[in-house]
Subunit: 381 residues, 2 copies
Amino acid sequence: MSKAKFKFEITHREKNCAARIGVITTPHGTITTPAFIPVATQATVKALTPLQLSEIGFEAVLCNTYHLYLRPGVEIVKKLGKLQQFMAWYKPVFTDSGGFQVFSLNNGLCSIDDEGVTFTSHIDQSKHRFTPEKSMQMQRKLGADLVFAFDQCLDINADRPTTEKALARTHGWAERSLKEFKKINKDKAQALYGIIQGGKFADLREESAKFIAALDFDAIGIGSIFGDPKEESKLLVKHTLLFVPQEKTRHLLGIGSVDDIFTYVELGIDTFDCVLPTRLARVGYVFIRPESGGGISNKYRYRLTNAQFKEDKNPLDKNCKCYVCENFSKAYIRHLFKADELLFYTLTSYHNLAFFQRMMQEIGEAIKKDKYLQLKKKWLK
Amino acid sequence: MSKAKFKFEITHREKNCAARIGVITTPHGTITTPAFIPVATQATVKALTPLQLSEIGFEAVLCNTYHLYLRPGVEIVKKLGKLQQFMAWYKPVFTDSGGFQVFSLNNGLCSIDDEGVTFTSHIDQSKHRFTPEKSMQMQRKLGADLVFAFDQCLDINADRPTTEKALARTHGWAERSLKEFKKINKDKAQALYGIIQGGKFADLREESAKFIAALDFDAIGIGSIFGDPKEESKLLVKHTLLFVPQEKTRHLLGIGSVDDIFTYVELGIDTFDCVLPTRLARVGYVFIRPESGGGISNKYRYRLTNAQFKEDKNPLDKNCKCYVCENFSKAYIRHLFKADELLFYTLTSYHNLAFFQRMMQEIGEAIKKDKYLQLKKKWLK
C-alpha cells in the first residue's frame, strides 16, 4: 500500500480574520485544523487508552523525543514498530525535537555549544548529548509523521544579547536539521516543521520568521511563546505571522489555555499542543464551558476536590456530552479522588480533553460559517 | 416499570460432576453462572471504567460495604441514586456484609460481642460499630441486588473452641440479619445470602450448612475458605455442599485462583469474587492461558516487569483476544510500568480480568456439553 505523503490544504478562510480551516494529510491519516493535539509524553496520553482518545475525536497526538530517548530508548521504539504500533495509535503522530525538555528539565544542568547540547538525564543523572542531526535521527526512528527542527528554547524574558545569540544558534541548527532530514527522509514518510524563535523582540521574531520561511520546511512552528504576558505574546505572534507563508501550516508549541487558543486561531495558527488539560485533571481541576459558568476569570475550570461537591449529583459540566458527563456525578468522581482511586485520573482526563476537542470542533464550525469572532466573543467574556 | 425480582434457575447440570449452569435474575439484569465477579471495593473496579467492564463481558460486580460506609458513606451513595447510578454500573451488584473487612483490616483493633462489632477505621482511626441489623440497613441503602448476612469471619486455622463460639455467634447474626432484611426488603428489591462458617471442622461446617439451609435465605454463601490448604479446603466445601439445597445459588467468598475456581465449580459453586486479578495486575503480574504456558506451577501468571520483556513484541498472552492483547506488546506495557504511567494499571487490569472472564465462559460451554472434566484436565495439568 502506497501511503499518502504530507500535504496541507486550506479549505476555508474566515472572512473577518486570519483564522482558517485546513487539512493536514500524513501517511497515517488526516488532521482537520484548527486542532488541539493532546500530549503523549512517554507514548501515552496519561490515564487514557488510544481507544478513548479516538472516542473523544482526536486525530493526532504529540510525543516527547527527550523522554522516549531516555526511556525506553528510540531503538526499542523503532524495533517495536515505531510509535504508532508501539502505542497502538495508528493515526498521525507529532514528535518534538527534544530541545525544549533538555532546557526545561535540566535547568543549569545542560551545556550548550554551537554544535549541540550536553545534558544530564532527569531520571538517573547520566550524561547525554543532542545535536540537530541526532534529533532528526531520533525522530526518524520514533517514526512520527510530523517532526520538529532542533532549536534552542529561551525564557521569553531573556535579554537581547542572550536572545540574539540563541537565535543565531537556532538558525544554524535549523539548516542542519533540514539537511539531515532531507538525507534520511527520502521516502517522504515525515514532514518537518521549522521553528521560529526570537524571544520577546519583534524584530528578532521577524528576522527568524523570514529566515525559517525561506528554507524548505514543510511547515512552521513558533516556539517559546508561553502566552504570558498575554498582550505582548499576541503582538509578537501577530507580527511573526506577517512573514510566514499562508500556505504552510503553523503549530504554536506548548500553548493550550482556552483564551490563548481563541487568540491564536484568530491570527491563523492551525495546531496547538499542551499538557494543561491532562495535568490539571490529575490534580482535580475540571474544565467547564461558558454556558456552565466557565470564563476568563476562573480560567474555565473549578476544583472538583472541594468539599462543596461531596453530594453533588450533577455531571462535571452539565452542558458537556462526553462519556464522563453522561454517566458520572461530581460526587462520584470526587469520591474516587478522596479514595485514591485510579479511575479518578481517567475520568477527569477524559472530560478535560473532551472539553478541548469539542471547543475545537465548535471553532471549526464557526470559521466555516465566518462566525468565528462571534464564537470567540461568546467564549471570552 | 416493574422490575424483575430475584430468581435462580439451573439451566443445565453436568452429567459427570456437580457443576451446573444457572441464571441469577435480579432487578438490574441477569448473571449467567458459573461467574467470576470482579471486586469494586470503593465503587470502582480499580483502573477500569464500567464501559470497559461491560466490554470484557462482566455481568456483575461486588462492592465492599465496609469501605463505602467509611467513604463516602452509605447515606451519600443512597442520595446519589444508590450504587448502580453512583458508579454508572446498571447491571447486578453484590455487596458484602462489612464483616470480613472489620476483622481483616482491623486485626486486634476490633472488639466483638454477641450484639455486634466495634472497630477502628483504617482511614482515620475513628470508632464505629456494626451489627447484623446495621449491615442489612447499610446494604439496603447502598442498593445492591445481592447482599450478604453479617457473619464473624475466622482464620481457617482457628481452634475448635474459638470456631464453635464464632459459629454460634454467626448463626445468631444470621437469624437477626434475616429478620431485619425481611423488615426492610418488603419490595423484594434485594436477595439475601446466608453464610456458612465453621472453620476447618467438617462437623461444624455441616452443622452450619444445615442451620443456614433451614432458614429462609434466597441464596447460600460459604465464608472463610481461603483455598489453602487446598485439599482440606476442598473436602470441607464438598462436605458442606451435601447439606445445601441444590436449587439455591452458592457463592464462595473471596476465592479466585484459577485452580480453586476449577475445583469449586466442579463441586457446584456458582459464583466467585476475588481481588486477585486486579491486585496482581497492579504489581505487574499477568495471567496466561494453559496453551500459552500457564499452569499450576507458575499459577497461570508471569512477572511482566522483568527485564527479559524489554523488547518483546508479543502480546501479554498470544492466545488472548482481549483489547489489550490485540493492540499492545509486552514491551510497551512494561515501558508504561517503568515510566510510572497510569495506563499500565488499566491495561494489565483489563487483560487479567478478560482472562478470568474468558475462562468462565469456557467453563460454561464445557458444562453445557458435559465436558467439564476434560476442560478442567486441560487447565490443571
